[in-house]
Amino acid sequence: MKDARILKRERFTPLTYALLAAALLLTMILCVCMGSVRIAFSDTVTAIWNAVWGLPVPQSVAKNIILNVRLPRVLCVTLSGAALSLCGAAMQGLLRNPLADGSTMGVSSGAALGAVTAMATGFTLPGSSYGGIMVTAMVFAFGSLVLILSLAYALDRSLATSSIILIGVIFTMFITSIISLIITFASDHTRSLNFWTLGSFSGVNYDQAKLLCLALAVCGGVLLRFSPELNAFAIGEDNARHIGVNVRRVKLIILITVSVLIGVCVSISGTVSFVGLVMPHIARMLVGANHRRLLPASLFSGAIFLLLADLTARTLLSPIELSIGVVTSLVGAVAFVLIFYRTRKGR
């Protein structure tokens, strides 16, 4: 008789990748079509196809809305969703903590503080008006991560879930207050507190999409390369050391990679909660705990989730646009409670 404990999970085949990629592409096109002005599916595909291949776009098609407003936004949302979900999966594995994520651990808030500080002080890098904001966000994200983990370690050497989350929540509240203060004194130079705490993709452009694409390609490649090490950490840091993982080096590389990716995302769209927390859990339910499958599955599911969240934020109370964080938090919080409850019951 078959043991009831045997996992029924199928292997993550190339066909699964193809199906996920197709679902993502379809969702992206749907998100370009839908909005305050509805555009036909065929017009959207034609406009994008012709633009990609340098062909003239027919006059009858709403070229400006498709190519200059919605497409860059959809690209940024897709890449941010993929990046945030990937970071969440990597952090949950590295810290062996199902509650780890940029937003719960205060990393996103740290990145937001970096971006606000750079904007308020007018810090830029030569040759790039946006580079200063992005680099500061990355540095602050990494600094926050190191600070939170150090404080949690000082409190509890086992780096228990509860210690990290407690410190992360308090850190987030503290940082939000500082961001609020900076915005009060430098409101002309920064975006609103609402943008930094709930996020928005309004007004993003192709340059930001290119930066996100570059960051995701490089950092995502690094994280995928470290899948075996993430598996070892997810089983236990001592076990990782015993099987020959260079624990300190790998940990540092993954933390820097995650900080860079979160820093880039936050500097473009503000803090978008729950994507990195919830989507890896859903991906884990689909493909199992092995990071070789989990990371790609998280990437696709995070992108699709954030696209649908952004679509809802744009269209639910149209013409009023909600902050995307309102939608991700509403859906994500409920989903997380359900998943967590189910996982604990299923043990």
Partner: protein, 251 residues
């Protein structure tokens, strides 16, 4: 193979391991024995490079701290006392990670015999039927066997075991200890283990270090170390009389 010289592990003013020296040679199964708090597990952690120590620990004359993590894992395999898994990995995935040291690094070659070693480790520990089972559903004993299989798959020259009988019922205690004894018969191998059950230590050990308050009270051949007087000194009771009384329950 492995030698510890004047090893001490301190937590502030407290010395968990205090100026301890011993050698582990090929073919030996050295038992670290002693009461709770004697420093046995801390010593194992020091050898596994998990806690900072003073003194020197050498592998064939080479400082173990100079070995790269993968080199260390190819020579020394460690089985911890407490092993838990937080996510639903399969038994096979956990055992397969034992081959990590042979695949680590961008320029590493293929691990040709990895699959065979994993199969053999699953078979030896009786886990072949549970290879696709979630680790979250295993009993304590099955979990311990899965991690032992991981160490077997790692194929080290020295096994370091912290309470290998932890969570195991009598059947698997006998099974696992016999397996380790069998494993030890291959040339170039040795075992160092912490064992609380002195009967198991006497039955399977070839040598022993008896520890108390972080120091070595006695070391050498197992029969010369686990004597009535030595045991009375560290356990502050007549261990022989107690063991006989226990055994008399079965007659």
């Amino acid at each position: 193979m492995l030698s510890c010289r004047h090893v001490s592990v301190r937590y502030g003013d407290f010395a968990a391991v205090d100026d301890l020296s011993f050698r582990l040679e090929e073919g030996q199964w050295l038992m670290l024995a002693g009461p709770n708090g004697a420093g046995k597990s801390t010593l194992i952690e020091a050898i596994a490079r998990g806690v900072p120590y003073t003194g020197s620990i050498e592998w064939s004359g080479q400082d173990i701290l100079s070995l790269k993590p993968a080199q260390f894992a190819q020579r020394i395999g460690v089985l911890s006392q407490r092993n838990t898994v937080g996510y639903a990995y399969t038994v096979e995935e956990v055992v397969g990670l034992g081959r990590y040291a042979y695949k680590a690094g961008f320029l590493s070659g293929r691990d040709d015999d990895g699959k065979v070693r994993v199969e053999r480790a699953l078979e030896l520990t009786g886990l072949t039927a549970l290879r696709h089972a979630s680790m979250l559903t295993l009993s304590g004993g099955e979990t311990q066997r899965a991690f032992l299989a991981q160490v077997f798959a790692q194929n080290p020259q020295v096994l370091i075991l912290d309470e290998p009988a932890n969570h195991l019922d009598l059947k698997y205690q006998q099974h696992i200890f016999s397996l380790i004894q069998q494993w030890l018969k291959e040339p170039g191998r040795a075992v160092l283990s912490v064992v609380h059950d002195l009967s198991l230590a006497r039955r399977y050990g070839t040598h022993a270090v008896l520890m108390h308050h972080g120091k070595s009270v006695s070391q050498g051949r197992i029969g010369d170390v686990l004597t009535r007087d030595h045991l009375r000194q560290v356990y502050e009771m007549d261990v022989y009389a107690w063991m006989r009384e226990m055994l008399s329950q079965w007659s």
